[in-house]
């Protein structure tokens, strides 16, 4: 079930009403009210997920059961080694399932090419279950956190299933941590008016970004990418820029809808995007883009590998050479950076272009790391922190900041070309096509009815995000007059309905395929 579908528009109010009126208010005197409410969340989530293909439910049920049992196994294992063995077994099985469904055919193809073997009998042609990477990573984080004793394992399978399959974030994140989400399912939720209203606003903003911005960009981008060889350089550049907005509108739009929907149910999900295109360098960009994935890799891969402060081996320490130790530390940090960027790229899909995309960003990140400038910008651009801790925003960035943002944006655009290309040949054709004499020609613009509303919608999105860059989403309006707020909501709503009617073909969210 897509968030931008008619089915979801029916599904959400029904689930919302049942959740609060039947499983909360009507059962308030029932001792097992929380259990029933969580069970209802599970049923609703399974209906939501099974809407694609009921067979996907088997896989998520297996992952749920294994991870749940692994938590108990870790708790009851008598020795530390035993606990570790249970955790590793769970990781292997979960990654094994992910590997078979997502990467097996890719590796089989590469293997067959390398050794010149007939391919057909090697391939499984499995359908990739929607969102498998997201819930697998969430399941892994649970067993690792239990092993690390950051959370107590739950003995309640219903609560655990609700945590792993909670429908707003099931198919494309944010990849939640058990430490954040599981406790919320373990205690009684109460309806909070302000949170619910903010959730509605965030849903509205997410739908705007998805339906109005991303889907319209997709029309142009898909046409250009379908026939790269016959496009002028300027058209290819424009398509790359529009894809940059498309993927942001698509994915952050999804995240906004997911977080907003969760708020309606009294659940607070972690933030997944924090105005990444207003970043002043690539390191800041990665602190603001797909936060739940980058922090996952940081916590479960980067830091265990030593991060940027690895343990110095005894052999080096004994030499007492501080310069050598510093060099070793740098080397490990660079290695770990490459590892997480390559893994992050490969997480997106079984294609060399994703790996290359990861490597490209690692190459941009490493110089900042080596110069110790990767943590320069931890605040938000064009803001002043007052002595009392409040953050004051400026209307415009300085010239330097604007230049930095533009450069970072340009670097991100180039990265998205790598990301969007279907293969290495396409990628090289695209890049060669850009650096052509036609780079300075007028790009193909479809027609005025298309590009004028598109430009306006992109500007509205950027303006909304810029004004509210220190807040959670672009529609966190700070306007006192209620009717002004309502007019803005209605205009955005009309925009969304207009494009729902115009674009009759529903566009899937890009990140569903990952």
């Amino acid at each position: 079930m897509l968030f931008n579908s008619f089915e979801f528009a029916i599904f959400l109010p029904i689930v919302f009403l049942l959740y609060w009126f039947v499983f909360d208010y009507a059962m308030r005197k029932c001792k097992r009210q929380l259990l029933w409410q969580n069970l209802f969340v599970v049923v609703a989530s399974y209906i939501f997920y099974g809407w694609w293909d009921w067979r996907f439910l088997i896989l998520i049920a297996i992952t749920t059961l294994l991870s749940f049992l692994s938590g108990i196994g870790i708790e009851y294992a008598p020795t530390q080694r035993g606990k570790k063995a249970v955790m590793i077994a769970n990781i292997i099985v979960n990654l094994g399932i992910l590997g078979v469904y997502k990467y097996y055919d890719f590796f089989a193809t590469q293997f067959a090419r390398l050794f010149g073997i007939e391919l057909d009998f090697l391939l499984l042609h499995l359908i990739l279950p929607v969102g498998i990477s997201f819930y697998t990573f969430q399941a892994l984080s649970y067993s690792i956190d239990v092993y690390r004793k950051q959370i107590q394992p739950t003995h309640d399978i219903v609560t655990f299933t609700a945590f792993l399959s909670f429908f707003p974030q099931l198919v494309a994140g944010p990849i939640e941590r058990a430490t954040n989400l599981l406790p919320q399912f373990q205690k009684k939720r109460s309806f909070d008016y302000a949170t619910a209203v903010d959730g509605m606003r965030q849903i509205l903003w997410g739908l705007f970004k998805k339906i109005v911005v991303a889907d319209n960009c997709a029309t142009y981008v898909d046409t250009v990418f379908a026939d790269i060889s016959n496009q002028s350089g300027s058209t290819l550049v424009l398509a790359a820029i529009l894809f940059t907005f498309q993927i942001y509108g698509d994915f952050s739009g999804y995240s906004d809808i997911a977080i907003g929907t969760a708020k309606l149910f009294g659940i607070k999900l972690m933030r997944n995007f924090n105005v990444p295109y207003f970043s002043r360098d690539i390191a800041e960009f990665w602190r603001r883009w797909h936060i739940s994935l980058t922090t996952w890799f940081r916590d479960y891969v980067y830091i265990p590998l030593g991060g940027s402060r690895p343990n110095i081996p005894e052999a080096i320490r004994q030499k007492g050479d501080k310069a050598l130790e510093a060099r070793y530390t740098k080397w490990i940090a660079v290695r770990n950076t490459f590892v997480i960027f390559l893994l992050s790229g490969f997480w997106h899909g079984a294609n060399w272009t994703f790996v290359l995309w990861g490597a490209y960003h690692a190459l941009l990140f490493v110089p900042l790391l080596l110069l110790n400038k990767n943590r320069r910008y931890r605040d938000t651009v064009a803001t002043i922190t007052l002595p009392d801790g409040t953050i004051k925003t400026k209307w415009l960035p300085s010239l330097k900041e604007a230049g930095q943002m533009l450069l970072t944006f340009a670097l991100a655009v180039f990265g998205w070309i790598i990301f969007r290309a279907t293969g290495l040949k396409t990628l090289s054709a695209y890049i060669a096509g850009i650096f052509d004499s036609s780079l300075f020609s007028i790009p193909w613009l479809m027609n005025r009815q298309y590009y004028i509303p598109l430009v306006i919608s992109i500007l509205v999105m950027l303006l909304g995000e810029w004004i509210n860059r220190t807040k959670e989403h672009g529609l966190s309006l700070n306007i006192d007059r209620k009717y002004c707020r309502w007019i803005i909501y209605l205009v955005i709503g009309i925009f969304i309905l207009f494009y729902i009617c115009c674009n009759t073909a529903q566009q899937e969210f890009i990140y569903f395929q990952f």
């Binding site: 496009q231 058209t235 209605l490």
Partner: protein, 300 residues
């Protein structure tokens, strides 16, 4: 909770009312044309006509007001609406485009407003209810008037051809005649018939292709059939026909891409159409284009 529930309902109701009002205004505005004089020239066509005629130039040459309903991807439904809306005894320049007839139905523009007569014609030509419904939904936001008098954004002159659409696409298009071709062709003829019944002077124009596209077309197994069909239609309906498909000296500088003229080509083609309307026949354009411009014998 109650407050939230009430406010949510209020928002949904307000949104529904505002959106319905918006749709209604768009719908009602799409129902009428104003100030349409029979002394004007009316143009219909798809992107070839949109990019291929400079309205201000044509108005100057012919000394008439020129109104164009040409738009990208225009289909037979749009032509039927055009035919229903043009006033009697006017001059109608209709672009004959194979793409219009061979393009799948759902890819047509179909955005000329809701026209019951045109929809009924489509229904009689085996369009499904779903397809008709789709046309209606396309036209929630139809323009107030299908005609425009301002010039289109012409393609600037470039010293080379650009390829927004691949040649292979045309090869594929001409390989098989789709099942709906006959339905579309019949609707095309019906629209011409409506204009004829209004005593309009109809000029059918086939806009030029770039030479490679034209070769693909001529080598396709159906080029003869397609040519024959349109010739037959023009014969039966007594329609003037300007054929610019044939070039003996293809100059790529006139074309923007495989099928669309650039501003230089549009300027020259407009001049030719203008001369034709002024009955300055036969014509040739500095030995640049050779036109098979003729009137059907039945017209004489």
């Amino acid at each position: 909770m109650n407050k939230f529930f009430k406010k949510s309902c209020l928002f949904i109701i307000l949104l529904a009312i505002c959106f319905s009002a918006f749709v209604l205004i768009c719908y009602l505005c799409g129902r009428y044309e104003k100030n349409l004089s029979s002394n004007n020239i009316y143009i219909w066509g798809d992107s070839q006509a949109y990019q291929g005629v400079i309205l201000s130039d044509l108005a100057r040459i012919t000394n008439k007001d020129v109104l164009s309903a040409a738009t990208h991807g225009a289909g037979v439904y749009d032509l039927l609406v055009f035919a229903n809306r043009v006033p009697s005894q006017s001059i109608c320049i209709v672009s004959y485009s194979q793409c219009c007839l061979l393009r799948r139905k759902s890819a047509d523009f179909n955005g000329s407003g809701v026209d019951i007569d045109a929809l009924y014609s489509l229904y009689n030509q085996h369009y499904t209810i779903k397809e008709l419904f789709q046309i209606c939904t396309n036209n929630y936001f139809s323009k107030k008037c299908i005609f425009r008098i301002e010039d289109s954004n012409l393609y600037d002159y470039l010293p080379y051809i650009i390829y927004p659409e691949p040649l292979s696409g045309f090869e594929k298009m001409y390989q098989t005649i789709p099942a709906f071709y006959n339905d579309k062709y019949d609707l095309f003829c019906q629209a011409l018939q409506i204009m004829k019944s209004k005593q309009c002077q109809i000029i059918l124009i086939a806009f030029p292709y770039y030479e490679t596209t034209y070769e693909v077309y001529k080598q396709s197994p159906f080029s003869d059939i397609l040519d024959q069909d349109i010739l037959q239609a023009s014969n039966i309906l007594n329609i003037d026909k300007i054929d610019t498909l044939y070039f003996n000296d293809m100059d790529s500088l006139c074309m923007h891409d495989l099928t669309h003229l650039n501003n230089v080509g549009a300027q020259r083609t407009t001049k030719i159409i203008g001369n034709y309307v002024n009955e300055k026949l036969p014509m040739s354009e500095n030995a640049f284009l050779i036109f098979n411009a003729w009137k059907c014998s039945a017209l004489n």
